[in-house]
């Protein structure tokens, strides 16, 4: 693979941003003295975890297509693990879950890797939709049947179907942008994740009015507006790395940051319903994998289809 100068610039920019965050965290820690400050300790853990996540992601993108497919396949697998653990299922669902984890999930990513768009788009909404209730019905337990089936199907849609649209960006054939889709993937993940980070930062600095206190106590109007606008600005400023012109980059960035916000809100509602604060504890400072990718879930399929409709 030829070294892509633009890709390199993007990665350098991210590393610089992380270095800046580490420096700020270091200064905050020094200023707060020896006293234990929970917010700063959590910030410290978050920034450290970001270094690891960026390193893993950069390696995956650098290996070309297959690395990204494997990385997001693993992300789906771990997210699904957290989601199903949190969702009560019954013994009769055991074999259904075996299919979901070990057949449906790998198959979905196999379809991404082989660029089989036709089946990729319907495997889970059509075939898994039939498989899940059928296998559970064969196991012969009708208690809370619709509820159990719906929960498993939802888990598959959110953790596997939606997330698989991120590496699926690599299968889009955009005229004049051949062989450069890795940058599109990086652009999308960067805008959605930086929107999360900036909503957190703006919220901590200016946050007053809570948007949905019963669902996500940390989300404020100030954080939401500040985060979405500044992330859209960053997305617009990155138009040179994408197949879009600045206006298109701005509109798409605005759309994915809004979808990201909706995703975060809905995944929070599920957590509150189950009475937990985080989906897991795999990523220090952030919670589980699902806590980190909640905003990606809703944004990925929308971004994928907008780009596919207008640019291919």
């Amino acid at each position: 693979m030829q070294l892509d100068r633009e890709l390199l610039w993007m990665i350098c920019g991210i590393v610089a941003l992380l270095a800046l965050s580490s420096a700020i965290t270091f200064l905050l820690k020094r200023r707060s003295g020896g006293g234990e400050n929970k917010v700063i300790a959590n910030l410290d853990a978050r920034v450290k975890a970001w270094w690891v996540m960026v390193a893993v992601f950069a390696i995956a993108i650098a290996t070309g297509g297959i690395g990204s497919v494997i990385l997001f396949g693993l992300v789906s697998f771990f997210a699904l693990r957290e989601f199903i653990t949190l969702t009560p299922t019954r013994a009769a669902d055991h074999r259904t879950l075996f299919w979901v984890f070990f057949i449906v999930t790998p198959l979905q990513y196999y379809l991404v890797a082989t660029h089989w768009y036709g089946l990729f788009a319907i495997l889970i909404p059509v075939y898994a939709f039939i498989l899940v209730p059928t296998r559970s019905a064969i196991a012969g337990d009708s208690a809370q049947f619709l509820e159990r089936t719906a929960k498993i199907q939802w888990a598959l849609m959110v953790c596997v179907y939606c997330v698989s649209h991120v590496p699926a960006l690599l299968m889009l054939e955009i005229p004049g942008y051949e062989g450069q889709n890795g940058k599109l993937l990086l652009f999308f993940v960067l805008v959605v994740q930086i929107s999360d980070v900036l909503q957190y930062v703006w919220g901590k600095l200016l946050g007053r009015h809570k948007i949905a206190p019963d669902i996500s106590p940390n989300k404020t109007v100030e954080g939401f507006v500040g985060g979405v606008l500044s992330a859209t600005g960053i997305g617009t400023a990155l138009w040179w790395a994408t197949p879009f012109n600045p206006w298109q980059a701005a509109l798409l960035s605005l759309t994915v940051t809004l979808m990201g916000f909706f995703g975060g809100l809905v995944m929070s509602a599920i957590k509150r319903d189950r009475g937990v604060k985080d989906y897991g504890s795999m990523i220090e400072g952030h919670g589980g994998v699902m806590d980190r990718i909640d905003s990606i879930c809703f944004a990925a399929p929308v971004f994928f289809h907008l780009v596919r409709y207008y640019f291919t």
């Binding site: 075996f98 897991g280 504890s281």
Partner: protein, 215 residues
């Protein structure tokens, strides 16, 4: 392709002298259980007693114990199950150093208490499941009296309640295919044995200590 049987698998384990920290780490990775902090484990000999719903239960407790505690902890298991095949016997005896006890034809000669007391006297801790068998429905069933006999015979041994969650969802009774969910394990404060307490009250108290960890 040659079919890889269980015998090959365990033969491999024994020949390669697979190291126990690695196996413990793998079990924790697969079950999602976090290591038990060392300060929750008594310094001396202890009996860890837990609810029982899956074959993975003893593996999980064994793997979650701090390495120094694990080195002298022995799971207690039913001889009828673990001596049925050469493979099971090798896993139980060679790798986990399990104390195998008679469950079906208990006579004076095969008194299940003897090997357990001998292990305690030799300075080993025990991992026991007082329900006697895996729960078929996920609920905690009445404790059998073995735990009381042990506690009365060795009143100084710490009795540590352990609650295991979601392991039966990973590998339920009667199934061989695991589903990779995240199990969790909670450890409670050690119980004190009171010679004045009636057997049934003691057993109910022990069961209650495990149940209390489930909330």
């Amino acid at each position: 392709m040659r079919r890889l049987t269980g015998a090959h698998f365990t033969g491999g384990i024994c020949r390669a002298r697979m190291n126990k920290p690695l196996v413990a780490w793998l079990i924790r990775l697969l079950s999602g259980v976090r290591p038990i902090p060392a300060e929750l484990c008594p310094a001396g000999v202890a009996i860890y007693f837990a609810n029982h719903s899956s074959h993975l239960d003893f593996l999980t407790i064994w793997a979650a114990l701090p390495a120094s505690v694990r080195a002298r902890a022995r799971p207690v298991a039913g001889r009828d199950y673990w001596e049925k095949t050469a493979m099971r016997r090798r896993i139980a005896r060679n790798f986990f150093n399990a104390v195998l006890i008679e469950r079906q034809h208990v006579t004076v000669a095969t008194n299940p208490l003897e090997p357990m007391l001998a292990a305690l006297d030799a300075g080993h801790s025990l991992i026991v499941f007082p329900e006697g068998t895996r729960s078929p429905d996920g609920r905690i069933h009445a404790f059998k009296s073995g735990l009381h006999h042990l506690a009365r015979a060795r009143p100084d041994v710490a009795l540590v309640p352990v609650y295991l969650q979601d392991l039966s969802r990973i590998l339920p009774k009667g199934d061989i295919l695991p589903v990779p969910l995240i199990a969790s394990l909670s450890v409670g404060a050690p119980l004190r044995f009171d010679p004045a307490e009636a057997k049934l009250d003691f057993l109910r108290r022990a069961q209650g200590a495990v149940e209390a960890l489930s909330h």
